[in-house]
C-alpha cells in the first residue's frame, strides 16, 4: 500500500510548504515568547549568582533591593559582621538611571560595590577589575559598552576598564558597576545649585549658624552633603552554617530583613516577573489557538476540495480508517513542517532580541507535542466531514 497522505503532500508540496512556512513562523513566535520568559527567569538567576551572596539584607518590611526600594544605613554591615556564621558582609547600592555614553542616553542599572567583597562582578570577559577607588567602571556589554568607553553618571565621567556579560537587572537594563562611594554620591548627590541654596538656607538659620560656636556650620554642611545610605548588605555565610539560620539571626538582632538565595529567587520570579509571565502565557494561549485554527482551516478546505475523490475512494472500497489516517497524516505533516520552520526561525532571530532569549530543548520537546496535538485536534473537523461523505455520491445523480 502507498501512503495517500505522503503522495498528496508530494503532489501539492508548494501549497504544503507555503502553509507550513506560515504556520512555522507563527510557531517560531510562540517559541520565542516562551524563550523570552525563560530568558527573564535565567537573567534573574544569573543576577543572583553574580552577586556572589548567600543572603540579602534589606530594609525591614521591604522586598528589596530588586523588587522594592530599600534603604539601610551604611554602618549596618559592621553589626552583621559580628553575627556568628557571617563570613563576609558588604554594602551595595542599585540605581536604575540614564547614563550618558558618547552623547547618547543609555538606560542602565548602576551598581555600587566594595572591591573584593560580595557584589563585585565575579567574571569579566575583558579588561580588568576596578582598582582605583574612583571613576572606574565595569560594564555589561549588551548595551554596546566597550573597554575605554567614557560613561557619564550624574556629574562625573567613568572609564570602562572591564566588561561583563549577562549582568542585567530584572528589567533587562545592563549593569554598570562603580565603586560604592561614587555610587552613593550618584544616588544621593545634590546638584550644585541645590547645594548652594541649601548652604545659604543653613547659614541663614540662626539656630544652626551661631556666632559663638565655631565649626558648627561646617559640620552641619558636611553631614548634609555626605550620604550614609546603601540599598542592601550582601552576606556570605561561613562554611558549615545554614544560610536560613544565619538569616534568622540577622532578622532577630538587627531589625532588618534578610532573604536567602531561594527567597530572593522566589521574589524575583514569582513577584517581579509574574506579570510578564502572565502576559506571555496569554500570548502563548492565543498563538496556540490561532495556529490550531489555521491548521484546522487549511486541512478542512483541502479535504472539502477532495470530497468527490473521497466519495470515489469509499466507493472503490477504501476503509474509513484509511481516509481518516490520510487526513490526520497531512495535518501532522503540516505540523512537522511548521515545527521545523518555527524552531529554525526562533533560533535564528532569538539573538537579535534586545533581551536574552533562552530556547530550552525541553520547551521544544513540549512544543513539538503541543503542535502535534493541535494538529490532531484540528484535523478532526476535516475527518468528520470526510467520514460523512456517502460513497453513493460518487455515482452521478
Amino acid at each position: 500500500m502507498i501512503s495517500l497522505a505522503g503522495r498528496d503532500i508530494l503532489h501539492s508540496w508548494s501549497k504544503f510548504a507555503l502553509t507550513g512556512l506560515g504556520l512555522g513562523l507563527l510557531i517560531g513566535v510562540t517559541f520565542t515568547m516562551a524563550g523570552v520568559y525563560r530568558g527573564m527567569v535565567d537573567d534573574a538567576k544569573v543576577l543572583l549568582n553574580n552577586s556572589g551572596a548567600d543572603l540579602w539584607v534589606v530594609q525591614k518590611d521591604t522586598l528589596g533591593p530588586y523588587a522594592e526600594s530599600s534603604s539601610l544605613h551604611d554602618d549596618v554591615y559592621r553589626g552583621i559582621l559580628g553575627i556568628p556564621g557571617v563570613a563576609r558582609a558588604a554594602n551595595v547600592t542599585y540605581l536604575t538611571m540614564q547614563v550618558r555614553r558618547a552623547g547618547a542616553d543609555v538606560r542602565a542599572m548602576v551598581v555600587g560595590f566594595v572591591p573584593g567583597e560580595p557584589g563585585e562582578p565575579a567574571f569579566l570577559i575583558a579588561g580588568r577589575r576596578v582598582t582605583r577607588s574612583h571613576y572606574e567602571a565595569v560594564a555589561d556589554l549588551t548595551a554596546g559598552f566597550a573597554l575605554g568607553d567614557r560613561i557619564r553618571i550624574r556629574r562625573h565621567d567613568y572609564t570602562v576598564v572591564g566588561l561583563t556579560r549577562r549582568t542585567v537587572s530584572s528589567g533587562g537594563d545592563p549593569m554598570v558597576f562603580i565603586p560604592l562611594k561614587d555610587a552613593q554620591e550618584a544616588q544621593f548627590l545634590k546638584d550644585n545649585d541645590a547645594i548652594v541654596s541649601e548652604r545659604a538656607r543653613t547659614a541663614g538659620n540662626p539656630a544652626l549658624n551661631r556666632p559663638g560656636v565655631p565649626g558648627l556650620l561646617d559640620a552641619i554642611e558636611a553631614s548634609q552633603t555626605s550620604n550614609r545610605n546603601v540599598n542592601a548588605v550582601l552576606v556570605r555565610v561561613a562554611v558549615g552554617h545554614a544560610p536560613e539560620t544565619v538569616a534568622e539571626e540577622i532578622r532577630r538582632w538587627k531589625h532588618v530583613q534578610a532573604f536567602t538565595r531561594a527567597q530572593m529567587e522566589d521574589i524575583l520570579i514569582a513577584k517581579l516577573i509574574a506579570n510578564a509571565a502572565k502576559q506571555i502565557g496569554m500570548f502563548l494561549a492565543i498563538l496556540t489557538i490561532v495556529s490550531a485554527a489555521i491548521v484546522a482551516f487549511i486541512i478542512y478546505t483541502m479535504t472539502l476540495g477532495k470530497i468527490r475523490e473521497i466519495a470515489v475512494l469509499k466507493l472503490i472500497g477504501t476503509h474509513n480508517r484509511t481516509i481518516a489516517t490520510m487526513i490526520l497524516q497531512q495535518a501532522l505533516g503540516l505540523g512537522l513542517i511548521g515545527f521545523a520552520v518555527g524552531k529554525i526561525a526562533a533560533t535564528l532571530w532569538g539573538p537579535a532580541f534586545p533581551r536574552y532569549v533562552l530556547l530550552e530543548p525541553w520547551d521544544a520537546v513540549i512544543g513539538f507535542g503541543i503542535v502535534m496535538l493541535v494538529c490532531v485536534l484540528a484535523s478532526t473537523l476535516a475527518i468528520r466531514a470526510a467520514l460523512a461523505v456517502d460513497p453513493a455520491a460518487a455515482i452521478g445523480g
Binding site: 502507498i2 470515489v312 472500497g317
Partner: protein, 238 residues
Amino acid sequence: MGLGAGIHLEGVSKRYGAGDTAVDALKDVNMSVAPGEVVGLIGPSGSGKTTLLKCLGAVIEPTRGRMTLGGEVIYDNGWQIDDRRVLRRDRIGFIFQAPYLIPFLDAIDNVALLPMLAGRPNAEARARARELLEALDVAHRAQAFPSELSGGEQQRVSIARALANRPPVILADEPTAPLDSERGLAVMRILHQLAGQYQTAIIVVTHDEKIIPTFKRIYAIRDGRTVEEAGEGRGLSA
C-alpha cells in the same frame, strides 16, 4: 452461463422516502447480463437508471427483490453479504461520467490503488496496472498525473482502474458523456473487447445516441420498469 455468473435482478424494487412523498424509483425490475456481455440501460431522466446502478453497486439498499453478482446472491430481501465495502472493492468495477481519478496519484498508481487496497503487494499491483494500461493504450502515460492527461486518456485510465481487481461485473454510468462521438465509440469498442477478454458482465447507462447502436441488447427503463429490447450491435468494427 445460466444463473451462475454475470448479473441477475429479479423483482428488484426501490422506494425512496415514505408516506405521501414516497417515490417508487424501481418497480419489479428484472434483468440479466451474461459474462462477457455489454448491455445498454437507457431511459429518460428520472426513470431510475442511477438508482439501479446504486442498488447493484451496493451503496443503497433496495426495498425488495433479489440480486446476484458473479454467481453470488448479494441481496435477497436483505443484504446477503457482510462487508459491502469489500464487495465493491473486489467484485464490481465502476466507471463514472467523469473519470474521477485521484489527482495526487499518477496514472499507474490510480489503477494499482485498487489491488493495493485489496492487500496485493505494490509490485504486483503495479504490474497488473501496467498490463491494463497497455491494453488500453495509455501505458506511455503511466507516470503522468491526471491533470496532465487528456480527457480521453483519463477516461481510459479510469476504465483500467475499474478492471484492476478483475471484477466479474462493471457498472458504467454514462461513460462517454464527456467525450466526442469518435472517442465515445472508441471507449465502447474497448468495453466490448474487454468484456470478451475478461468475461466481465458490463452494464452501460447511457442516453448517448451515438453509442446506442453498439449494444446487442438494451434495457429501456421508464418510470422504474425495464423493458428488454434487441439492439443493433453494430459500429464496433474499427
